[in-house]
């Protein structure tokens, strides 16, 4: 599942990284505590957060996240956007709450897999 499909299915706003939407999303992580995200998220994760300041770009870049989705109508701060563009990190946004968004992305990424397992 690539970012583009998730953007389309959930009608996400794309703030940066338009040319990186083919990036494969392997899994997801939610969190607003940066140390928690640093320690527990993985490469290829789509990171869902309410933090909008520029340090999120460094975290996403260091962890090789597929991208960042800002929840609940949040928009990146000006310097966050500048840094995201410079480092070419996809930053997206949604009006959905973190809970709603995580649930939907979980279903998109894993729902089918789980159903398939049940069918077997």
């Amino acid at each position: 599942m690539n970012l583009e499909t998730i953007v389309r299915l959930l009608d996400l706003k794309v703030f940066s990284g338009l040319d990186k939407l083919k990036t494969e999303v392997l899994d997801g992580y939610t969190g607003d505590l940066l140390s928690d995200v640093m320690a527990n998220s993985k490469e290829g994760d789509i990171w869902m957060t309410r933090q909008v300041h520029q340090n999120i770009i460094a975290v996403a870049s260091l962890k090789d996240h597929a991208g960042i989705i800002l929840v609940h109508g949040a928009e990146p701060a000006k310097d966050t956007l500048e840094k995201a563009m410079k480092e070419n990190i996809p930053v997206m946004g949604t009006n959905l709450s973190g809970f709603e968004l995580a649930g939907r992305i979980y279903n998109i990424l894993k729902g089918k897999k789980d159903n398939a397992a049940v069918d077997l």
Partner: protein
């Protein structure tokens, strides 16, 4: 005292970076540079991942709590060593500081999602060897080693 660095070991890479306290705009920059270098050196992904995390948390600690600090990195075929020395207030009670969730961060730092009392714990968890010393009113000194498993 554990002697971490064997002087006879061959250095593959060595560098030193200065970090300014309070400058959150640049926080994470040194860790990003270190990650790029370690990747270029061709180290295994998990070594790069651990070193990037250790460097990042150390850098954030300097930015959050010290006036300034230095991050030194050296790589040999056997290990990555990251060492930070800061000029700051020091840590009065290291055992307390090492407890998950304990933090002296102010509201501004916490609002950004830092200061959750996880930094030092993460550094220790992701390092194979970890050493911390601190002097009140002078600063804190961290030494971390990440082993490179080269199958030897």
């Amino acid at each position: 005292m554990i002697t971490i660095l064997d002087v006879h070991e061959k250095q593959i890479f060595e560098s030193s970076y200065t970090v300014q306290g309070g400058n959150f705009d640049e926080a994470g920059k040194v860790a990003s540079q270190i990650k790029v270098i370690l990747k270029k050196l061709g180290l295994q992904a998990d070594v790069v991942r651990k070193a990037a995390l250790v460097a990042y948390e150390s850098e954030i600690n300097i930015v959050s709590y010290a006036r300034k600090g230095t991050i030194n990195i050296s790589v040999t075929p056997q290990r990555v060593k990251i060492e930070t020395v800061d000029e700051g207030q020091g840590i009065p009670d290291i055992d307390l500081a090492m407890q998950v969730g304990y933090s002296t961060a102010d509201a501004k730092i916490r609002e950004m999602g830092f200061g959750a009392g996880m930094g030092l714990c993460n550094i220790k968890k992701f390092s194979d060897q970890f050493q911390i010393t601190s002097e009140i009113g002078k600063g804190t000194h961290l030494k971390m080693i990440i082993h490179i498993d080269n199958g030897a």
